[in-house]
């Protein structure tokens, strides 16, 4: 139980996927312009992460023992396809849900947060539950970072940031300061 909590906290704050592990930066830097969008992207990502956790667990237990060398390729193919399948399904079955979350799915499948989760979960030898908790934490962490970033960026829209810095440079520096602040969580619940 304890270490489940630690896995969650660690993925959420201490080793935040975006701010400490550098995963999923493309959407983090690209799509964090509007608060509302970022939040939905976060939710969608969390969802895909969970799917990923399940897929990778399945592969790890049933297929990869026979062919460890296929890990990477099977991960990416399986995850990508599964998500694409889900996307199609949602698009058909619940257009509103698709509008809200679905449109993000393609963007998410091809970013490293997903694959990263699969690989880290495997390296750390997480089982099913651990994997899920890890995915949840990572997703929540991603959403948190996204939302904070978006809030800040919407504010900087209103302020006269020097022209040269505007855009990605600024976003990176914001991200830097954010991750500096997140360093405060280092060692959380791990010491003494």
């Amino acid at each position: 139980m304890d270490d489940l909590i630690w896995i969650f906290i660690s993925a959420l704050l201490v080793n935040n996927f975006v701010l400490a592990y550098f995963l999923g930066l493309c959407p983090f830097l690209g799509v964090s312009g509007k608060l509302e969008t970022s939040f939905r992207l976060g939710l969608a990502t969390t969802f895909v992460l969970i799917v990923t956790a399940i897929c990778s667990w399945f592969l790890n237990t049933y297929i990869l023992p026979h062919a460890p060398y296929l890990r990477l390729i099977s991960f990416i193919v399986v995850i990508a396809s599964t998500v694409q399948f889900i996307e199609m399904a949602i698009k058909k079955l619940s257009p509103p849900l698709f509008k809200a979350l679905g449109i993000f799915l393609p963007l998410i499948t091809t970013n490293c947060a997903i694959l990263g989760l699969a690989i880290f979960a495997t390296n750390k030898g997480y089982g099913f539950t651990e994997g899920l908790v890890f995915a949840l934490g990572a997703g929540a962490g991603f959403t948190l970072a996204m939302v904070l970033m978006a809030g800040i960026r919407e504010e900087t829209e209103l302020s006269d940031v020097p022209a040269l810095i505007q855009g990605t440079a600024m976003n990176l520096i914001i991200a830097g300061i954010l991750s500096m602040a997140f360093m405060g969580f280092a060692g959380l619940f791990s010491s003494s």
């Binding site: 810095i165 500096m180 602040a181 360093m183 405060g184 959380l188 010491s191």
Partner: protein, 337 residues
């Protein structure tokens, strides 16, 4: 015919002004910090003065160098850069090499302020950005503490270390009350904490003077009292609960409130108007959040002290807080947004 009249002036109403100006607000903070500063120098010797000088120099030079020609005069004259430098200096260990302090100063203004578009546009508290940068960059130097009864005229060699060279620290390096608490489980008495003759950063030690300064600012209406109130409330209650759970493992509320960067942080840094919420309800949330995070990081985290990180984290959340705590408009049930 018209032009025989005196050429009249046209300005938008209202024609009257309260009289308080932004530079004055900054100057107030400045004045209220003077006693604290002097105390710091008194306790840690003129070495401390050198550190403060370096941070302020770093801050001012950077502000001057990176603001456009036309903005320059105001940017310097509005006193805020100097204030940032001073506050940064006050949160540094007295034995910190001057060159590090200088880098801290320019980092504070550089990535903490000008990049954002100068005064009023930054999301994060510049001084603390500077401190976080230093703490991350030179962790050892930033956690090595001179003892409070340094002879006045002695300057510890580390202060004068050559740029980019690892400093040599003088033998007597005291652990801070928090350090002791966290790593040796021993609690410092409240009186020293109140007077300030303990290890720690230049400006954080003397509780008494900090509180006086806070009262001064409160009377001058220079900050939003809700923020410190919220911090003390949250930190006090949270630590009290822990204390009741396990008295000899966790420090009591009074120790929590008086030790480390708590006071200076709550009174001078969380209250930075620019980086804290505008709205009253927002201020409460902000304060409570900071207080909670401080205790969380201090007790369960890897660092002995969390004030800086707590404030920076809440700074990050400030735009969101502001957005969702819009005041209830007169004659409207709900609030906007």
């Amino acid at each position: 015919m018209t032009r025989k009249d005196p050429n009249l002036l046209i300005q938008s109403a209202p024609m009257l002004r309260q009289g308080m100006t932004t530079p004055q607000a900054m100057r107030d903070v400045w004045l209220s910090l003077l006693p604290v500063t002097l105390a710091g120098i008194w306790f840690f010797g003129i070495g401390a003065l050198l550190v403060l000088a370096s941070t302020m120099a770093g801050a001012l030079l950077t502000e001057w160098a990176f603001t456009s020609k036309e903005k320059r005069r105001d940017a310097i004259s509005d006193n805020s850069a100097l204030l940032t430098g001073l506050l940064l200096g006050l949160t540094l260990p007295p034995g910190l090499p001057m060159w590090m302090a200088f880098i801290g100063g320019s980092a504070a203004i550089g990535i903490g302020k000008v990049i954002w578009g100068g005064l009023g546009n930054n999301i994060f508290n510049p001084a603390l950005v500077g401190r976080a940068f230093l703490l991350g960059t030179f962790p050892i130097a930033m956690t090595t503490w001179a003892s409070a009864d340094t002879p006045f005229w002695s300057i510890s060699p580390s202060v004068l270390a050559m740029p980019f060279i690892t400093p040599v620290y003088d033998a007597v390096s005291a652990a801070t009350p928090l350090g002791l608490m966290k790593f040796e489980q021993q609690e410092t008495g409240l009186l020293p904490l109140f007077i300030g003759n303990t290890g720690g950063t230049i400006g954080e030690t003397s509780g008494l003077l900090l509180i006086l300064g806070g009262i001064f600012l409160l009377l001058r209406r220079d900050f939003d009292w809700r923020i410190p109130a919220g911090i003390f409330l949250a930190a006090g209650v949270f630590s009290l609960i822990l204390f009741l759970v396990d008295g000899d493992k966790y420090p009591g509320p009074l120790f929590t409130l008086l030790s480390g960067g708590m006071l200076i942080g709550a009174i001078y840094m969380a209250t930075d108007p620019v980086t804290s919420p505008l709205t009253p309800r927002g201020a409460w949330i902000f304060g409570l959040g900071v207080g909670f995070l401080i205790v969380l990081i201090r007790v369960f985290g890897g660092f002995p002290e969390g004030v800086m990180y707590a404030i920076l984290l809440m700074n990050a959340a400030t735009p969101l807080i502001d957005r969702y705590t819009q005041p209830r408009i007169f004659g409207r049930g709900e609030s906007t947004s």
